[in-house]
Subunit: 369 residues, 2 copies
DNA sequence: AGAGCGATTGAATCAGCTC
DNA sequence: CGAGCTGATTCAATCGCTC
């Protein structure tokens, strides 16, 4: 029993709150298998003497020899593996992780992700439309950051709203390179003195795409490096719940204020395109039972090359071959598989109509109106 | 003394040759501190499972070669660290490394690069204009690969032709995300049976940009995973020397044949610009990188009165004058300005075609993005 | 001749459910 | 857990053929 093992009552998950403290310790207090998604924007300074710092807040202390370098990489790796392991414990079996970083840290993070048993789905490039130039002209303009999207394990089946992303991309499959501007203007939070409230505030557009792609309404999103709460703000807008962890009181204060102003989009607005995978199953035999097609009637492939006869039990038969609409189609095509719903057609008014049209008719009847 | 330490005479560096054997062992036989650049396209450790079919039931020809199979992450890491360490020994103190990979391996490679004392200058994204789609609709289109550019050490001062890259990018700083098509068509080498000679041949445009950016004419470029010799072919065209190492006899044979046909561009053509320029959208240099026009090739004005030669960085030169297509055109016309895109023509089948036609071709490729 | 159509192909960790 | 069945799913570019 878990309660006996931990020596404490099973903790409950505090939701839509910002938790204060070190994320590794705080995550330890959260129940295992309780969140749908982790989005993390960890610090990436490798100089771990004392505190971790954001890149522009950090002094770049020259590392003079190999031992120092190894020491700081080792410290960063230890920190990275610790929070990734806790995050993995807190994730549901079919949960997923997003981490964002730059070349300073992303390779170490990515290797740790793999070593800890996560399974990478994609790496995604955020190509900035308006990056900061390299003023000294010694390197290329650092115009992108890298995100890693990983399931909790190889067996995990993370949420992926394929159709929704396809729509976001004007009808063609979403690619792994995303072009978006950095966070500026009114979106960029300022402190009382007018300075940036946080050095690395991410654009809401980025989180919007991440959450539309890999969560559903009502899901819980954990952000262990909450900062000024971009993850929470977008989650709330999209009808998701969030759990934020942030160590710095100043950032928590900014985030609280920000979140108080956020209004969720209307219920219908957060629905996304689903595709056929989510539709209810309709056996082909149902069309026969309902008299939409008759036993003995002939189906034909679109090119007219193949014909088969419908039997009373909803199987097809042709030249001694018999079986499901899929199996017979595959057999005739000599293909490993075949979607019978789109392959087979019946004739109506001289035209060929895919049997999928009849299935859609039944599905329409089944929908709550 | 090195000779005493190694117990052998200091080895000399064989240049413009393909060396046969395992790259780790072969590199051990090369003198330390002897090459200017290492470009490496190592196995990606793809870990593919079963077969994959397109929606039209055709089978995808995947990378299932023995050279891409490793028993575990640990085995892959050991291999990676071994070749990276030898490559580092062979590099000059101010030398640099490029490695290309995908999310399957690049995080492990990048962490090893850092651990071994290299110093990352940039990570670079090759965004493919025409990637293979995700046929099952289960993930994002895997539309990019990642390159790491690193100096031998933090103290190293690697070659970086900042101005040349700026010219290649039509006057604005070159970014870390590069958009290029994959290697297809006539550039893609075929074996006797018409099948692809190598499963992962890289486009010459990619190597062109890498070598223009981080080497000078006369430099020596080592490629420990030579394959069909793209690195060698582009190096020779650009007046660089190469050292190729390849284990597979079949690949070596294809590469030898390929290299025998390669002619270096003329001396003046490989000089890169030191000046500055600014202008519109599709950089002229892109036409050069993509092989639509070649360094050394002549452009001519419509009336035939003026001629200029193309250089590797996308600038033109004539009678000691050098600069962008616009600047050189203006100079020759004695005019304050000139639209090089409509002024300059190349010859095809005896007819003069404005280079703008090529720009339009590229724009057509870039449109849906 | 040139437009248009069909076939082919590329570094890919590519399904989910029931029995 | 494995076997077996249902059934969902692709974009850009090149090449070669027909009209």
């Amino acid at each position: 029993m878990k309660q006996a093992k931990t020596g404490a009552a099973a903790p409950s998950l505090p939701v839509d709150e910002i938790l204060s403290g070190d994320c590794i310790e705080v995550m330890r207090s959260l129940p295992e298998g309780s969140v749908d998604l982790v989005f993390a924007d960890p610090p990436y300074n490798l100089q771990l003497q004392g505190e971790l710092h954001r890149p522009d807040a950090s002094r770049v202390d020259a590392v003079t020899n190999d031992w120092d370098r190894f020491d700081s990489f080792a410290a960063y790796d230890a920190f990275t593996r610790a929070w990734l392991a806790e995050a993995r414990r807190v994730l549901k079996p079919d949960g997923a992780l997003w981490v964002i970083g730059s070349y300073h840290n992303i390779f170490r993070v990515g290797a740790a992700v793999q070593d800890l048993g996560y399974w990478i789905q994609n790496d995604v490039i955020w190509a900035k439309t308006n990056p900061m130039p390299n003023f000294r002209g010694t390197r290329l303009t650092n115009a992108h950051e890298t995100l890693i999207w990983a399931s909790r394990s190889q067996k995990g089946r993370p949420t992926f709203n394929y159709e929704a992303l396809k729509e976001l991309n004007e009808g063609t499959q979403m690619r792994s390179d995303w072009s978006m501007p950095i966070c500026t203007g009114h979106e960029r939070l300022k402190d009382a003195g007018g300075a940036k409230a946080h050095p690395t505030q991410k654009p809401e557009a980025l989180l919007h795409r991440v959450l539309v792609a890999t969560t559903n309404p009502g899901d819980v999103v954990l952000d262990p490096f909450f900062g000024t709460g971009t993850t929470g703000a977008v989650a709330r807008k999209l009808g998701r719940s969030f759990v934020g962890i942030e160590r710095e009181a100043e950032y928590r204060a900014v985030a609280e204020k920000r979140l108080a102003k956020v209004r969720p989009y209307e219920g219908a607005a957060i629905e996304v395109s689903r595709g056929k995978r989510a539709a209810p199953r309709v056996p082909f035999g149902t069309l026969v039972e309902r008299g939409m097609l008759s036993p003995g009637e002939e189906l034909v492939s679109l090119n007219g090359r193949h014909r088969a006869k419908i039997r009373a039990d909803g199987t097809l038969t042709v030249k001694g071959v018999a079986g499901s609409i899929h199996k017979v189609g595959a057999e005739l095509l000599g293909a490993p598989s075949c979607n019978g719903w789109t392959y087979w057609h019946f004739k109506r008014d001289g035209a060929k109509v895919p049997i999928d049209a009849l299935r859609e008719q039944i599905r329409a009847e089944m929908r709550p109106s």
